[in-house]
């Protein structure tokens, strides 16, 4: 039952942390007294019209009243209306969330599939040419500005070679929406053409996002494996004549991955925030593109809603990491 306790103690902090986040972002976004009413009313509105709209939007109230009202609305899932799309912000965000999640998860799978095995290889072949090369590549992967890499990949593979689509999530309308994840929906509806097209569109943005994440994983897995590889039980298994590959890929990796799992939680956050700029470059219709458009339109409430939904996903993932941790490292529950 210790596991339940850990989960509950984390859950208790979920609401205060979220409240704190809303508080910080709300007041930050109100530091400069912009006048959304005037922007909504348009250039030709009379002063009386702006006044009426201001009262209508609740902007004539003191800031703490506005904050209270915002939190109250938020509790019912209402984030206000976007000045840009003229739709409910929560609807906008929820409609775009699957696109971002699909992209981040694809990048995550790519990063784990590349990063963990390469990290193990790097550790097993430590201080050889292979290890040195991987080290240089992983250090470089962390130093590249993602938006720049995105542009360079786009220029080379899409514009010059024409191998991948320039931008967007799919050509045409996409599969019938069930979950909002195009890969899953296209399989569920048996629409294989859409499935391949989605993967095709996803290739470059996913690679761009995955590169720094994979680099981090290579480094952590390498360090983790090296720490375990010299322990007594590995020596024992070796003495017992276990095959080297079995020792490495089963017994060593399981223990080595403990720190990597924590890292995966952090990486998810990095991917999610990396998606903001990468989506903007590839016109990926997710949260990042929405956030950038909202910024350009000075749509403060939409930016606020975006920050909150990212916070929710982020805190949720960290909670999940803690739970997964109790399964792969039973020592934490003893």
């Amino acid at each position: 039952m210790r596991r339940l306790e850990i989960v509950l103690s984390r859950l208790v902090w979920f609401i205060p942390t979220l409240f704190g986040l809303v508080f910080v972002v709300f007041f930050i976004s109100n530091v400069i007294p912009t006048d959304p009413a005037r922007i909504v009313a348009g250039e030709n509105a009379t002063e009386a019209q702006v006044q009426a709209l201001r009262a209508d939007m609740g902007l004539d109230q003191p800031l703490y009243v506005q904050f209270g009202r915002y939190v109250g609305d938020l509790a019912t899932g209402d984030m206000g209306k976007s000045m840009y799309t003229q739709r409910a912000i929560s609807d906008d965000l929820l409609r775009r969330l699957p696109a971002t999640l699909e992209l981040t998860m694809a990048a995550m799978i790519l990063a784990i599939g590349l990063g963990v095995p390469l990290g193990v290889i790097s550790a097993v072949k430590r201080n050889t040419l292979v290890d040195q090369t991987l080290r240089v590549i992983s250090v470089s992967g962390l130093a590249i500005a993602s938006f720049w890499l995105a542009m360079e990949l786009q220029m080379y593979f899409s514009t010059k070679l024409g191998w991948t689509p320039l931008n967007g999530r799919i050509a045409g309308w996409g599969p019938e929406e069930i979950t909002g994840f195009y890969t899953i929906d296209s399989i569920l509806t048996g629409d294989l053409a859409s499935f391949w097209d989605t993967l095709h569109h996803m290739t470059l943005p996913a690679i761009t996002l995955a590169l720094p994440a994979a680099a981090t994983l290579v480094r952590f897995t390498r360090a983790g494996v090296l720490e375990v590889i010299n322990s007594n039980y590995v020596l024992y298994e070796r003495a017992m004549g276990f095959p080297a590959s079995l020792i490495i890929w089963k017994y060593v990796l399981r223990n080595a991955l403990i720190s990597t799992v924590t890292q995966i939680g952090l990486i998810f956050g990095a991917l999610f925030s990396g998606a903001v700029v990468v989506e903007a470059v590839f016109d990926w219709p997710g949260l990042g593109t929405y956030a950038v458009q909202s910024i350009l339109q000075s749509d403060t409430k939409a930016v606020l809603g975006f920050s909150i939904i990212v916070g929710v996903v982020f805190i949720g993932v960290n909670l999940l990491v803690d739970v997964v941790h109790t399964f792969i490292d039973p020592r934490t529950v003893q």
Partner: protein, 280 residues
């Protein structure tokens, strides 16, 4: 061994240090070594979008300005943003971590919960929200980054202080009647220094990347500032023909961040023998 000797004995730290030193020198000397120092603001429309040549090493931009010269001046902006933003974050984060770790209790818990709030969203998201509200300028980018980065140092110093305050040497100092301030500043802080130094070096790289991203999104300094992130976004509409336009600032960012990351890695190996053993 002297500190410098130890740094020079580590290849990663040496290369990283050399890159950063070179960048700082270039940034300071920009007005004298730039071939066309006036090109930060000037434009020569007849020389628009020229590929790299002997006259213009890295080509020219949409205004016909020399990209190499603008790059050198851009280094000044990048360095200032990174140094000030990280400096402020350290100045806010370290005392908070020290106080919260040393006293613990309700106040300490509250301070750490506050830092959790800031860590609950990815840094760039919060920085975007702040920079968007305050309007595009270098000062606001620095402010946004400082507000979002201090919790990293607070967390780090908190954890270290929490572990150190139970050590015998701290108890000894307390028993001798040293004031809390004295214990914290003279006994605990020096022992957290290596962790702070390593985190700061790697933090500089991360800060430069975030600052460039803000510039790319149009939240940084307004044109014609030669900020690297903004230059890359300007170059976008001229790709793929003017490939050199985005290549130069992108590689510059890569080089600088690489420098700080290598230095940070190297310093960690030098300052933390525990980790060094693990990596050999």
């Amino acid at each position: 061994m002297s500190a410098l000797k130890r740094i020079l004995s580590d290849r990663a730290a040496t290369i990283g240090g050399a890159i950063i030193l070179g960048l700082v020198v270039v940034a300071i000397l920009a007005p004298w070594i730039a071939p066309y120092p006036g090109d930060v603001t000037a434009f020569h429309l007849t020389e628009r979008l020229q590929p790299p040549s002997a006259d213009h090493w890295f080509g020219t931009d949409r205004m016909g300005a020399d990209i190499f010269s603008r790059l050198l001046f851009g280094a000044r902006i990048t360095i200032s943003i990174a140094v000030i933003a990280v400096g402020v974050s350290v100045l806010i984060g370290v005392p908070i971590g020290l106080l919260a770790g040393y006293y613990g209790g309700f106040t300490g818990g509250a301070l750490m919960r506050t830092s959790d709030v800031f860590l609950a969203v990815p840094q760039i998201v919060l920085a975007i929200a702040i920079a968007q509200t305050l309007g595009p300028s270098v000062e606001n980018v620095i402010l946004a980054l400082s507000i979002t980065y201090w919790p990293f140092w607070a967390r780090l110093v908190y954890a270290e202080t929490n572990a150190l305050k139970k050590q015998t040497f701290v108890e000894a100092a307390q028993a001798l009647g040293a004031s809390d301030l004295r214990v914290m500043v003279l006994h605990i802080l020096p022992n957290t220094a290596s962790a702070i130094i390593v985190r700061t070096s790697i933090g500089m790289g991360a800060t430069i990347l975030t600052a460039a991203a803000l510039g790319f999104l149009g939240l940084g300094a307004p044109p014609p500032t030669p900020e690297w992130g903004r230059t890359i976004s300007e170059a976008r509409e001229f790709l793929p023909e003017a490939w050199w336009y985005a290549a130069a600032p992108g590689l510059a960012i890569f080089l600088v961040v690489m420098g700080f990351n290598l230095l940070g890695d190297g310093l960690r190996d030098i300052l933390d023998p525990k980790l060094r053993r693990g990596s050999q």
